[in-house]
Symmetry: C2
Subunit: 397 residues, 2 copies
């Protein structure tokens, strides 16, 4: 049978993410592909105790249904974390989500009619494009340099795109490039959003994993007109398997996202919300994050050192101040997708994410995203060395 | 600030479900409102052991990211459960969802362009209407009698609605009426779906909680052309707090729902999928369900007995063969919403769901849905008695 689908499905197609997650599961491949945190650093003992206590608690509340917008105590705790980071808010300003990915879907569904324009960094997070696609947006893109989205180019883009409705950004240690939006540009972004009546979607999964440099204020904390939807997540700082993220937004926006939450899946898992909440009550999340920072900073150094040692000199890599990724630039003629398929996977037994997939409009073939958080230091060295050999042997790519 | 929202948000409005979940949380109210299972019957000890074992398992896989369409072993296990129930399928035919609610959202997004028609039972599950609304459907409705959706009326409705795309049904112990679709009507429904090129969305959260009568084949097992999307859930037979549901559908439909899963929230919680999977490996779900059946059958009897004893004789209640709900019919002039607001809540301290909310097109005020699974037998007796007194004292309503 062939069925007739809704128009919104026209551009909803299989993506590289699914295939790459599958490749990452082959234990004979060293994958720098996914955005996985290091599983050896998961707070296993604490979560074990916590799940025991919430499941055994009288009344069974952690196993029952819960309010759609999230457990009230968890919402308060998230507001405290946000406020301690300079983004003042209360539990009423928090909507608990099924990972921050769900916030990307909701923001697009809430704001985008078919043909409306979403402005993204170029390149940008592939998962966001996947989330936006069923809302049938068009895209306008802003190039990224070492200080993030080039907001000085934004005004011309906004003038040329009267249907622009939403600016999507990962301001801290951006996915895929690892760069951070400077303070001057953060302020300029807010100023332009006000002037052009746009909503800003601020996605911050890596924000707290900073290795060096100074913490910068969130866009939400600089928001003067309630135009910023801030998305946060425990996936990278606690464990991804909980699937707990959140949105912070002004009441009007948050209420509508809350209605989409009821429609989309009723609620996030009560057990997982209760577990995250008890973790925050009982343990020091900052101390746990400090451990992650140290470990990932070391891994980043190991990867960049190995790249410098093993890769041809024409290949450059960003040196991020935090997060999970470095972004590689190969010579103009290099096709990172073809190289992965024909050489890296079958010969070097190494995976990464070819860069082309992160460009919403005009793919550029000579980039790749490398994750340094998931693999051990030994695997990083082995994988990069193997890839270096293959690159030297295939310079013509 | 007031913002401009996408057109799909026009009819996305706060619903009774949110308010009622809030009321149910007030411990001084006896709520027959929500569709909560009995928390005293949750498999607390088993889940405690299971979470301990999956969190402590070497490698931390249960806390890490997992494939978007679900853990492969869980998909196989669900296929085995389905096959044992007469719906033959393999793990490849299964998509794990964030509760079956997510399947309602995905089916509408996949199939419904604005103005396309969804055919529902009248009355129907409110949560489905909430899920469908952002896809901007119109509705056509089929009355329900003691044998479920009156499929003999369906052909005329299909002829009158050329844009009909989807038939939504809860065939077993329907929400809100508790009635079950007869075998003759199941076959007629499939036959008409084939003839009119429709997709059937079969929602079965209560299917395994049968008190009496004979198990009937799922619509999916009667599906001759791959037109049925079957939704199942562990919420009522295990615990709601896991938020694990699933879809079974033909490859083309399932693949597209899988793409929406990646877009919507990346994946269901790994921890919760791993927990459900280990429960199925280690314990006898059928034995657990047998306990639930006995308990809920007794509670149903307690509620119907109490209604017969305490309510005015003009009020009738359905006697369901399974599930969680009975459906009350009051005299034509009675307004169950007004009575709840003005008498039941403030005086009798009892909540239910006024029936008007379950009718997609023309609300009828003289109905109410009563849940008998959540409250203790003592509370059922106390609550129904208090409501009976209030009804007798307010016959003019």
């Amino acid at each position: 049978m062939t069925f007739r689908y809704a128009q919104r499905m026209a551009k909803v197609r299989p993506s590289a993410i699914g295939e790459l997650l599958a490749l990452g599961a082959d234990p004979s491949i060293i994958s720098f592909g996914g955005g996985y945190p290091d599983a050896t650093l998961f707070p296993q003992e604490q979560l074990d105790t916590i799940f025991h206590d919430i499941i055994r608690a009288p009344g069974g509340a952690a196993m029952q249904y819960a309010p759609s917008n999230g457990l009230p105590h968890l919402r308060e705790q998230i507001a405290q974390l946000m406020s301690a980071d300079g983004t003042l808010c209360t539990g009423d300003d928090v909507l608990v989500l099924q990972g921050s990915q769900q916030g990307l879907d909701f923001a697009a569904r809430m704001l985008i009619d078919p043909g409306d324009v979403i402005i993204t960094e170029d390149p940008t997070f592939l998962g966001a494009l996947i989330a936006f696609e069923p809302s049938q947006p068009k895209y306008a893109v802003v190039p990224v340099d070492s200080e993030g989205m080039q907001t000085e180019r934004l005004e011309a883009i906004l003038s040329a795109n009267p249907r622009a409705r939403l600016i999507y950004t990962v301001p801290d240690f951006q996915n895929p490039t690892g760069v951070t939006l400077s303070l001057v540009r953060r302020k300029q972004l807010i100023e332009l959003a006000n002037r052009y009546d746009l909503i800003v979607l601020e996605d911050t999964p890596y924000r707290h994993i900073r290795f060096s440099g100074q913490n910068l204020p969130t866009l939400k904390s600089l928001d003067t007109e309630g135009r910023v939807i801030h998305l946060g997540s425990f996936s990278k700082v606690l464990v991804p398997g909980l699937r707990i993220g959140w949105a912070i937004a002004s009441p009007d926006l948050l209420a509508r996202m809350g209605l989409l939450k009821v429609a989309a899946d009723t609620q996030t898992s009560t057990l997982n919300m209760a577990a995250a909440s008890l973790f925050l009550d009982r343990y020091d999340l900052s101390a746990h994050i400090a451990t992650l920072r140290t470990a990932y900073a070391t891994k980043k150094e190991v990867m960049l050192d190995a790249i410098r040692q093993h890769f041809p000199q024409e290949i450059s890599a960003t040196d991020p101040e935090g997060g999970l990724f470095t972004w590689l630039t190969f010579p103009e003629s290099f096709d990172a997708t073809a190289f992965m398929r024909e050489v890296a996977l079958p010969q070097a037994r190494v995976a990464y994410v070819p860069g082309a997939t992160f460009f919403p409009l005009t793919p550029r073939a000579n980039h790749a995203r490398f994750n340094f958080s998931a693999q051990s230091e030994a695997n990083i060295q082995t994988g990069i060395a193997a890839l270096g050999l293959a690159l030297h042997a295939n310079l013509s790519f």
